[in-house]
Point group: C2
Chain length 308, copies 2
DNA sequence: TACAATCATGAGGCAATTTCATTATTTTAC
DNA sequence: GTAAAATAATGAAATTGCCTCATGATTGTA
């Protein structure tokens, strides 16, 4: 007989649950254990004397009562977020500068919606993208030519802090009629006789080369292209294979334009971090930007996982 | 360095604080100690790094940051209340019956707004007032001629539970040019040579008679009237004095029509309870009605205090 | 100036929430 | 269809965080 009142914590749990479809996934999203959420949800159901979900199903379904609370959560979370932004502005002022250095091409796909949302919330913050693709985006931070850098590794450096954004899987894409299209998992050797299509960036920025091919001593033919869609087209036209984030190619997979395979037994996991100058790490608009990026990305991109 | 998240509990505290104007009063309203609220508010201020109030003033003033959170509280509390009502309806259904037996004349003043609000929230509940003034309203409950009785004392009785509503002070009112109009505190003896004007109800229902005059053996002349305004008029016309709830006569006092005095050193405190059949005590619409009554009354009537 | 009321603060207790360890259940894969 | 994997439930222990108590500080008032 839990007598605990409804709290915002519960509403946040419900939102995570609705997005993830399972208790254990939602638990990761709110940085608690599965057990904690299970207890929490049971307490909620006891409190209202109503079942909130049907748990015998995957993804789990909300009952009408669960839907009602979820609706409340959606209404309230926006209001709370707005108020907390206002509090932050009251404390630190409206204005600021946020120049973003980007290392990876596909980043733009998820960066744009986040930037749009952020611009609405912080109209007085000067938002900019530092153009060009720099091998050392963190250097731009310290020389104050950028205020935030997106990078795929957190190399410790004085005066710089790294905030995890999210993790995702890189998959190999190939033409649908490729001889190995049915192979669910590719190893480095399978690539030896292929042409690898990638963005025109140094090898250290290509996870497939750095983490898989180089260690195995495999060195396939290469071809580069600037644009994601162009790479997809080349792959579909049997001009080679490419490694891309799953979330970037899912639409093309769904439409059957190309096929995909896992890279290595456990897949090629990639991570994204935001690097900031230590002094800026507590700035409200910085924190809010990072929060917005995560929120927007998880809402938009399929197959992401949390990164601690 | 409290790291605690904003929770609904905090918002409820802010609402109480805004209504009461002081931490200690607000603490009573939310059934916590003054200390608890002081800690809670300090934690909030630490969390946002902003002062929320100026405490060196009475009533305490909200800072802009405090106002912003208060605005959030107002937005959110309505939504939460609505959702919780829906949850209750999902559990117990929409319909029900709520016939109210009223013992005191002035009750109608605060009952009406509460009933109006309730009707909006529970359109399918049949709301009614059991007319006439019964000496034993609780009897109506047990014979199922009423479902809720308003009374000023909680006499234990099998199958009946009492829910406290609120407490208030009865004051003596007199003409402005009454010889004793300047006397701040009246004792029973001061009434010996007065004419007491009251509603036409048995003496046991008149707190002044039962608690003050009878114990002192004082027996003034009497005169009765059904209507509150009529009693006020008679008092103003020097036809006698009357004992009325402070909240009922405050408008007339403010406009200078009449004068008032405290009854006895510590004042004549009156209390109001709702009596319910035990079986009905957990019904959602009953609980919500009681909540609405308290909420509306505290928001509308001056000088109420909480009753546990 | 003293008194009353209100607020702040630190320590201690207690209850609510989380984690841990385990079992039960469901889904997936072969 | 069964085995394995993933997911959820459960109870006990541990932690955290909240509240109360006791007291001191501050403000307003007679």
């Amino acid at each position: 007989m839990s007598q605990s009142q409804l709290e915002l914590r519960h509403l946040k749990t419900l939102l995570a649950l609705a997005e993830c479809g399972s208790v254990s996934q939602a638990a990761k999203r709110v940085f608690l254990t599965q057990s904690a959420l299970s207890h929490q949800l049971k307490a909620l159901e006891d409190h209202y004397g109503l079942a909130l979900f049907e748990r015998k199903t995957q993804p789990l379904r909300f009952t009408p009562a669960g839907e009602r609370l979820l609706a409340l959560a959606r209404e309230v979370s926006g209001l709370v977020a707005g108020a907390e932004r206002d509090m932050a502005r009251l404390r630190e002022g409206e204005a600021g500068e946020l120049r973003i250095a980007v290392e990876c091409h596909t980043c733009f796909d998820w960066l744009m919606p986040a930037m749009d949302a952020f611009r609405q919330h912080w109209p007085a913050v000067e938002l900019d993208i530092v153009s060009g693709f720099h091998a050392d985006p963190v250097g731009l931070l310290l020389t104050r030519r950028a205020d935030l850098a997106i990078c795929s590794e957190a190399e410790p450096q004085d005066g710089v802090v790294y905030q995890p954004l999210f993790a995702y899987e890189m998959v190999l894409i190939m033409a649908k009629d490729h001889p190995l299209a049915a192979k669910p998992v590719w190893q480095a050797d399978d690539l030896a006789s292929e042409t690898l299509i990638h963005y025109p960036v140094p090898d250290v920025m290509l996870d497939l080369v750095r983490k898989v091919l180089k260690p195995a001593g495999v060195n396939p033919a290469r071809r580069t292209s600037e644009l994601t869609v162009a790479i997809i087209q080349l792959v579909a036209s049997r001009r080679g294979v490419a490694a891309m984030p799953f979330w970037a190619v899912k639409p093309y997979l769904d439409r059957g334009y190309i096929a995909s395979a896992r890279i290595g037994e456990s897949g090629l996991q990639s991570e994204l971090y935001a690097a900031l100058r230590q002094d800026d790490a507590l700035l409200a608009y910085m924190r809010d930007f990072l929060h917005t990026v995560r929120e927007q990305s998880f809402a938009t991109l399929p197959g992401l996982s949390v990164l601690t």
